[in-house]
Structures are given as C-alpha cells and as structure tokens.
Symmetry: C2
Amino acid sequence: MTGLRERKRRQVHEAISAAAITLFLERGFDEVPVAEVAASAGVSKPTLFKYFPAKEDLVLHRISDHRGEAARVVRERGAGEAPLAALHRHFLAGLERRDPVTGLNDHPEVLAYHRMIFSTPSLAARVLHHMAYDEEALAAALAEDTDELTALLVAGQVLAAQRVLARRNWLTLVEGTTAERAYPSAVAAADRAFALLPVLP
Amino acid sequence: MTGLRERKRRQVHEAISAAAITLFLERGFDEVPVAEVAASAGVSKPTLFKYFPAKEDLVLHRISDHRGEAARVVRERGAGEAPLAALHRHFLAGLERRDPVTGLNDHPEVLAYHRMIFSTPSLAARVLHHMAYDEEALAAALAEDTDELTALLVAGQVLAAQRVLARRNWLTLVEGTTAERAYPSAVAAADRAFALLPVLP
DNA sequence: CTGAAAACTTAACCCGGTTAATGCTCCTGT
DNA sequence: ACAGGAGCATTAACCGGGTTAAGTTTTCAG
C-alpha cells in the first residue's frame, strides 16, 4: 500500500520541479531566486532544499536519473557483442527514438531546456560532473574485459564522443532543421564517431 | 620603467595568493572563508575579488595560465609533423620535466595541491571547465587540417586521454612511489594512450 | 484515540560575491 | 613644486544560495 506520506512527497516534489522549470524557462536560471521557486510551489525554502540538494538539481534531476547508463549498456550487452558495439547500437537507438540525451529532439521545450543548460555555466558544469561519474562507471564495466588503463582511456573517449555528438545534433536543430531531416546525418556522424574509437583487444 | 603602482599590484596579488594557498592547504578549501584569506593578506574582501574573480581562482590561477596550450602545440608544430604526433611529443616532454599538469611531480606541495583539487568538488568542476575551453581551442586548431566533426571528436579524445593519464600518474605517486621510479611506466602509459587515438586522415 | 515520528514553517544565520559612498595615493601638466 | 584627477583602497550594506534551530502540524501505529 502506497502510504499517504509517500504520495504527498511525490506531489510536492513534482510541484516544486514544475514551478522551477516554468520560471527558469520564462526568465532564465540565474534570474530566478530559489526563494521565488519555493513560494511559487507553496513551500518554504528549507523544505525545497530537502527535496533538491541544490538549485541546479531543480533542473537536472531528470538527467541525473540516467546515472551509469553507459556502464549498464555494456554490462547487459548480449553474449558475443563487443562493448563498443553495444554502446554504438545503444546510441543509434537513442537517435531513432529521439532521446533528448542524443540532442536529436526538436520539441520546443526540449530545445529551450538544452539552451538553458548550455548557456548557464553552473548547469553546464553540473552536467560535466555527471558525465565524469558515468565515465568512471563505464571504465569499471570495461575493466572486466581489458586492462585498467585501457578501460579508463576508452571510457573517456566514449563519453567525449557522445558529448560531441549530442552537442552537434542540438546545434543543427537550433539552426531550424527538424529532427526528421537531421536524422540521417546524425546517424552518419555517430557511425563516424564510433569508427574512430579504438578496437578493444 | 615599471611603475610603482604596477609593482604594488603584483605584490598584493602575490600576497593574497600566498595567504590563500597556505590557509587552504592547512585547513581545506571549504573550511576557510574568503574573508579570512583577505584579512590574512591584509586586504579587504572587495579588493580580494578585484584581484581574483572567484574563490576558486585563488587556487587555480596558475593552471589558468595554461589556457589553450594544446591548440598552441598543434599550431606551432614543425612542418611535416602530424598534429597528434606533436601532442604526443609535447606530453612526453612534460613528463620528462615533471610538469605538474602531467601529474608526475612528487614534490609534497604539488601532491597536496592536487589532492585538494581532486577532493574539492568546486575546484574539480572548475578544472573540467578549463579543459572544455582547451578542447574547443584544440578543435579549432585541428579543423585547419580536417573536417569539423573529426576535429571535435579528436579534440575531445585527446583531452580525455591527457586527463586520464594525469590522474593515473598522480594516483601512482600518492601510493608513495617516487616520480623517478614511476617515470618509465608513465611514458609507457602515454605511448599506449596516444596509440589508441585515431590517425587523422 | 493517543502519542511518537515525520515533515513543515519561521527566523536567523553563514558564506560567496557585488555595490555604493568615501577617502587616500600615485602620477601628470603647468 | 604642487593641484588635481585617475586609480585603487576601505567600510558598510546588500543579494542569493544553502543550513540550522526551535517550535508546530500531520501522518501513522497500537
């Protein structure tokens, strides 16, 4: 039985998040004090910080849910599939379903969301930190099949490639192209990126 | 004639930086308020922030001086030398002269300095941001010899490799090994890392 | 229904960073 | 040599993110 307590918690969480996104997209992340977000969600400032450890998390908690995705893809790959092949396949699948993390999603709110992240230093920094975590986890997963140093190096390169690809895709969409039209070129770019990565021994 | 004004400026700059490093290494970056650094340097808080735009810069202004180094190495390489070969050579030279940015420097203060950076999130974040800038500049330099996408991808991979190598070297030294003893293995690791990078077309 | 645990509120605080008002000190022109 | 402006300092107050303490309401268990 899902207790009343827990249900309320989820409601408040959602209310705060929604108020935050709305205000931030309207006026910009740095232009809205968190006190205003709290007031707009009908909650006090300490309570807000009990739900979200920092202002940036009001925006990035969705992205944070993808923690360790790369590592999981490698760990759950089919028998006989190479780690990099699994990551390649997974990225292409993301493109196909227009997953926002691939940058290839042209819904206006998603574009605005990405613009806000890229143009707000503290948010961009937080995304980088998140990717550093992912990289570490991926390195650990890769280390089951190769030496430590190679695992670290390849993990760094995979994450770098994904970051470059996502930014590239977002930039083409910002130019006004639709995701539909940009898709083939995004696939080609992904293929090129993974072709540049080393083959694991 | 170096004006008296300018000389004083440099003295104050140095006094603040020295006070900051001393206090931070003694008690930790997050445990020392900048007001205390200012007081200890005999200066007011607004003045301190006129010399250093943010608390983190009290620690990182030395690293910030290396801005765009990778791009410069590529631009100033000898005729007929491949970009990646130039970067490889430059990294090996850094190892040989125990350049702190390679991680292979076992002076106690350097080790403590690195430990502080790695264990303080806001400092680590700032280093990542700095590397993002370097990456962008390197991509621009590489783009003179190849297509844009490849330049971005390779730049990301080079910076990732350097970061992994530096951290690896630092970890080895933290275990107690001397830079002398760690040197051959550090060279081997660098050779391995650059061997994994793609050959530019 | 009662009481302990959970969660919320208000008010105050700390810290990083900025601004405004004021004053001192080096440099420059005559 | 010195008058006065440019440059840089100081103090005091402020803003915004984040935390803490003390006290109040709400949920849940027996």
